[in-house]
């Protein structure tokens, strides 16, 4: 079996890997944004404690354990969910807990005087968050978000355990059938690398599109010049 044929056979799983990664990243983004926003806009001790507990618990649970709990445990309680939703509820939420911490750090980097200036003009707390803090926070968070999205991609092979035919599942099947393990897993690594590059190109393009002088990477480049 030629290497190119191996690559071609495995590539049938790329679409599923991309689907799992994109849906889990979207879930993580929604969970991370929601929790970070609530924590920031309503900093009541009770709310802060609940969100901190959420991030603490979900950051300490292994992805596979939560995935099995959701996918095999919930049916016992009469709730049946698809493999993709199980991935979103495990990997997506765990990544969301990490993103919440990334966003919290980025929010602390927003200049307090800018926030005070906006409040001094009469903007409400919600308006200050939406128009001043959020746009800057997202720009400050790019390196942390890229790290987390990369982690999601690397944890996506767990999807094969619940029956999603992504790249690793294809590799396992092909390896069992042909016994050409080294060649197959080398091809698998190359495919993951390509998906990672694609993800990175997308993020960089977004970063470039929303680049602002004085914030983030552009700011550092200017300083070094």
């Amino acid at each position: 079996m030629r290497f190119s044929e191996t690559l071609l056979q495995l590539s049938s799983g790329v679409g599923y890997t991309a689907l799992v990664t994109v849906t889990c990243c979207a879930t993580a983004l929604a969970v991370g944004l929601f929790t970070a926003a609530i924590r920031r806009v309503f900093p009541l001790p009770g709310i802060v404690r609940v969100i901190d507990l959420f991030t603490f618990v979900f950051r300490s649970v292994p992805v596979l354990v939560l995935l099995f709990l959701v996918y095999f445990g919930l049916p016992e309680a009469g709730i049946r969910i698809s493999p993709l939703v199980a991935m979103m509820c495990s990997l997506g939420i765990i990544a969301g807990a990490y993103l919440c911490e990334v966003f919290r750090g980025a929010l602390d980097a927003v200049d307090a005087t800018e926030i005070m200036a906006a409040q001094a003009m009469g903007l409400s707390r919600r308006q200050v968050f939406v128009h001043i803090e959020l746009p800057q926070m997202l720009r400050f968070s790019v390196p942390g978000m890229v790290n987390e999205f990369t982690n999601v991609l690397k944890y996506s092979p767990f999807a094969y355990t619940v029956g999603i035919p992504e790249i690793t599942k294809q590799a396992l099947a092909l390896s069992a059938a042909t016994l050409h393990g080294v060649e197959i897993y080398l091809a698998t690594g190359i495919l993951y690398f390509l998906v990672y590059r694609l993800l990175l190109v997308g993020v960089r393009q977004l970063e470039h599109r929303f680049q602002v002088p004085g914030i983030g990477a552009a700011h550092l480049q200017e300083q070094s010049i």
Binding site: T113, M116, I215
Partner: protein, 245 residues
């Protein structure tokens, strides 16, 4: 007519009493300058006026209405009071134009086009219209302070509070800001400015209120305060300022 009537204003942070009963009036069309050493409560006084800091006791009447207490619409009050920070506080992610139009669109409900026209008018008044599409990172300190002033003026406030507007500027830019304030004063814009920059204070007002340890110590012509005043704290302040290059 007095725009602000401040009586027995007190503010305490934990055990530290910052304002110990300040009495002050700001008249319409006036440029009032409050001077004093660092930590005397100048900035806290300004922040109490638009409720960025909650006073502990005392009274603040704005246009005859009491603005302390819980029944006051604080956001509506703030819309009538412009505020200039020493570090300019421009929103880094927005262009000069967007910095100036944000509050117009979100608070006054103006359409984007109308807000831009209004903002450009104010920027033009302060010679900043040519920089409308730049980001704050590309402006000098003096230009940033002009934009901050244009942003405040665009809301058509009854008064502008200036918190050490020249402390982050070099002397040339500080003079520029002083010129600007004189120009606005000639247009009957009411301003209350706190500063410890004697040159700047002398450029924008004749009379100065001296605040020391949370109390108004004197309200005199600046030259009177500068010439061996009877109060030791005032004497020491102006001697130190003379020595500072």
């Amino acid at each position: 007519m007095a725009l602000f009537e401040i009586r027995s204003l007190r503010k305490q942070f934990n055990d530290h009493q910052v304002l110990k009963g300040v009495d002050l009036d700001v008249m319409e069309g006036e440029v009032k300058v409050v001077m004093g050493p660092s930590g005397c409560g100048k900035s806290t006084l300004l922040r109490c006026l638009n409720r960025l800091v909650e006073p502990c006791a005392g009274s603040i009447r704005f246009r005859g209405e009491e603005v302390t207490g819980s029944g006051v619409n604080v956001r509506a009050l703030r819309q009538q009071i412009g505020f200039l920070f020493q570090q300019f506080a421009l929103y880094r992610h927005l262009t000069v134009l967007d910095n100036t139009t944000l509050a117009l669109r979100k608070l006054k409900g103006m359409k984007k086009q109308d807000a831009a026209e209004r903002a450009l008018h104010e920027l033009d008044r302060l010679d900043m219209a040519g920089h409308a599409h730049k980001h704050p990172a590309h402006l000098s300190g003096g230009q940033k302070q002009r934009v901050a002033l244009a942003r405040a003026l665009a809301m058509d406030p009854a008064v502008i509070l200036l918190d050490e507007p020249t402390s982050a500027l070099d002397p040339v830019m500080a003079r520029e800001v002083a010129q600007l304030i004189r120009k606005l004063h000639s247009e009957r814009v009411t301003m209350l400015c706190v500063t410890h920059d004697v040159e700047f204070a002398s450029a924008i007002a004749e009379r100065v209120t001296f605040l020391n340890q949370g109390l108004v110590q004197a309200e005199e012509r600046l030259c009177v305060l500068q010439n061996n005043h009877e109060h030791p704290a005032i004497r020491e302040f102006f001697m130190t300022e003379k020595r500072t290059p």
